[in-house]
Amino acid sequence: MKISLNWLKEYIPNIKKNDIFIEELTSLGLEVSSEVKVKKDTVIDIDMTPNRADCLSIIGIARDLSAIYKNKIAYPKAIKFLKLKHSNILAIDKKISSSYSALIIKNIDNSLKTPFFIKNRLDMCGLKTINFVVDVLNYVMLENGQPMHAFDHDKFNGNIKVRFAKNNEKMTALDGQNYTLMKDIPVIADDKKPQAIAGVIGSEESSVTDKTKNIIIESAYFTPNLIRRSSKHFRLQTDASYRFERGVDPLINKYAIGRVLAILTEHTSIEDFSFNHLSAPKVAKHINRSILVKPNLFESSLGIKISDKFILQTLSYLGFNPKKSKKGFSVTIPSHRFDIGIAQDLVEEVARVYGYNNFKPILATNSLNNIKDSTNQFDGYSDLLVARGYNEIISFSFIPKGDQSNHVPKTKIASLVNPISEDKAELRGSMINSILNTCAYNFSRKNNNLRIFESGKTYIKHRDKSIIEENILAGAISGINSESNLKNEQVKLSFFDIKGDLLSILPDVSFEVNADIKYIGKACQAVIKQNNKIIGYCGEPEKSLYSQYSIKNQIFYFELMIDKITPISSLKYKKISIFPKIRRDLTILIDDEVIASDIIDAVQRKSFNYMITSKISDIFYNKSNLDIGNKSMTIEFVFQDKSSTLRDEQVNDEMEKIVLLLKNKFKAIVRS
């Protein structure tokens, strides 16, 4: 809210001319977000929190400041309506307005120029000048916070009715728009039709121009929720609705209209006016409510002792009526404070005047240790991947509509009811889309060498409509091993790079064929298992995904279901043999269909004497001296005994058994 500093100063007596209270405003919770010098004045913009409806006026802000300056504010003069000269008939629905004032002025010259100071102040506060009466209404609204509306009496057919609209009633408003009303929208109507959407905007038809002679001025309290509903429904926020929906002091409408009349009569002669006011017995729930604050609450909440004198004084300046008793403080809430409901609210009132920055910080570092850390499941793996050259990415949890239709069944896709755009319409059911999207983005920027990973969630809708979130660690590689390498050391990344990376971070997992994952191609697809349990998948993405993301570079992808991984926790040390190891290589010719793990598994299962490791150390395909359909494989075996030095003959015996096994089982031919 924009206000003029000079205007604000008028209501705080004895304030020094040069006092700039920007710091004070901010420390009260009325944060000054900007200040602009305008001639001899300063315009400040205050970011008003939604609870402080009482500060949507100069008087309201002055009242807050008065608690700091310890000066009662000087309320501007208004005309008091002692006797009602005329009783215009009002039919008011008390659910809409529990306090309603109307003033009818006859024969006013509305072509008068708006007084300069009013025009100037409206301008500084960001309001347009319209015509004499409307400008005065706006001026009083800025001053007191009471929005008011003026109708052209001659265009108003009969009596004022505050009622709910009928379905399909129509109104053309001041903004030139046509509004179709419905039955829960409160309106101000004449005998025939609505002339205003209550508290939001008036009709064009009964609007006041500089030619208007006879005017009805409305000053009312409207039930905040109803105004909010109208404003939301029509997506229309006005200076009036903004205040009404937050809560205008229900007891000032009569005063505000008197204030208007006081200003008008200073600038023109008004002889014929009549006033009416209707009010419910209980205008609003919060009025005259009393709250008991226990004597120790201020200290126990705030951590320091604040004197009774300070508490009583502060609350009085803010408009409360506090009384000290043995039970504590009994505090009556003023009509302008909608936001005060419990004792703790009063603690804040005292604290903000005392100054948040005047409380001494105390650092309590005690640890309770009664809860298990549940967030770090990714941490270790992330660190290891980073060390192996992966960049961590973070993608949106939502992906474009249709992007996952090939691999997530429609019934399992969780869609947003109100997406921000079509390209952020569905929650991801797997990580592949996020990963490929990032690859594509980087390829388009010529970042061709990638090692990326993301630790995030996937979202799958279940039959009962609940949504299951799963923690996934996924990633991809593409390009060459390292840009830093000299040309002859640069190697294109392959499936075995990703396999190597995964085995480095999870040494106890195995890779098996026959994964059944739709988005990974059949040619290069592995299921990752730990203790015979599936914990993830890897391989090359399925072909259609390459075209879906317009990717030409080869990519290898992996994903791990983090919650299914068992960290290696119990490990028992095995005694190390001090006797020498003997290494033997065996090269065999073998059918192409036989895969590496068949051979290693067969050898491992037999548990040959002294053999401690066996691994594939070399492989050749379709060399000229081999038959087509065969491959040459070299297997490296290492032997060691726990209690003595092995002799060659002992190892030879075992090697013979191994050769026999491979011959029988795989028709292997030993090459010399």
Binding site: T26, Q344, P361, L363, T375, G389, E392, F398
Partner: protein
């Protein structure tokens, strides 16, 4: 070591410095260790020494000889290496350099949680798809609060939404663990908002401390220490009153950054209604809570101006953060 031995060594060192070829070194070697070299002679004169000193003298001579041999050998290797072209051009590129990096959001979360862990906060996570109770009602956010608008909240179904803050995790923790409690809740949150300063998904961390006799001074203590540690220097900090439905009193913490006050986090004493909603006895317990946006803090710390950088995942951006944890 006898004095004359010490000076002998330093003499030799001086002489070796002058050597530039293996020939020079051979000369020096014969001067010391040759048939009539200094050391050989010294061994020769051992027999003239008194019988009881002979043993000790012999030992120190042996030490001297070894030292001289080592010095000469080292110099010889040095000269040969240079000569044999074995010198490595260590300025050539290193092999298989990995430019792996953590995402700046993760780095920032780690930075924050490791500081708060020292103050006794335990990290807790929770679901992102939430219901109205845990995201709004339990937090004293009335139906009419702006945060309840369709405009701000993503809905997945009539009664399921994407959490708009990690306070929902606090509610779940309070319901299952009761008081006392000292937790922090980092994670993704979602708001129906997108412009250069707002992202529909971003990260938050919130802290919550519920115990006996927790007051506003404790809140200030944790936050001032935290900000100072996070930025690694004393910052100009101010607290100002603000409004959140779930805290009372409520405050916002601003820091002076490049001459301007910037809002970095919201905080306050937990509203009694929130404690009652999770069945914590407000007569016995009180607490404070705070929450802050990770991206915002990361932007301040790393001078990032465009929020969108975080989710574009351009490797050229990400790899700048290598080396940070």
């Amino acid at each position: 070591m006898p004095k004359d031995h010490t000076s002998l060594i330093s003499d030799l060192e001086e002489k070796l410095k002058e050597c530039s070829s293996s020939h020079d070194i051979a000369n020096i070697k014969s001067q010391y260790l040759g048939k009539s070299g200094i050391i050989t002679n010294k061994f020769g004169s051992l027999k003239d020494a008194a019988l009881d000193e002979r043993k000790e003298l012999g030992r120190s001579l042996n030490i001297l000889k070894t030292q001289i041999q080592n010095l000469i050998a080292a110099k010889l290797i040095e000269i040969q290496d240079v000569k044999n072209d074995n010198k490595v051009d260590i300025t050539l590129p290193g092999k298989n350099i990995s430019t792996g990096s953590k995402h700046p959001v993760s780095i920032t979360i780690n930075g924050i949680t490791s500081i708060l862990a020292k103050y006794g906060f335990t990290s807790v996570s929770g679901v992102e798809v939430e219901d109205e109770f845990h995201n709004f009602e339990a937090l004293n956010i009335p139906e009419t609060h702006p945060a309840r608008d369709m405009h701000d909240t993503f809905y997945v179904s009539d009664d399921k939404l994407l959490r708009t803050h990690t306070s929902s995790v606090q509610i779940r923790s309070m319901l299952s663990n009761k008081a006392p409690l000292k937790i922090m809740t980092p994670g993704k949150v979602y708001r129906c908002d997108s412009d250069p300063t707002h992202s529909p998904m971003f990260h938050q961390i919130e802290g919550l401390y519920i115990d006996k006799n927790v007051n506003f001074c404790h809140l200030k203590g944790v936050l001032i220490s935290f900000i100072t540690e996070f930025f690694g220097k004393d910052m100009e900090i101010r607290f100002r009153p603000s409004y959140f439905p779930f805290t009372e009193p409520s405050a916002e913490l601003d820091i002076k950054f490049k001459g301007k006050w910037l809002e970095v986090l919201g905080c306050g004493m937990v509203h009694p209604n929130v404690l009652s909603n999770v069945k914590i006895d407000t007569k016995k317990y009180s607490g404070f809570a705070f929450g802050l946006g990770i991206e915002r803090l990361a932007m301040l710390k790393y001078d990032i101006v465009d929020l969108r950088m975080f989710y574009e995942n351009d490797i050229s951006f990400l790899s700048q953060f290598k080396g940070l944890k």
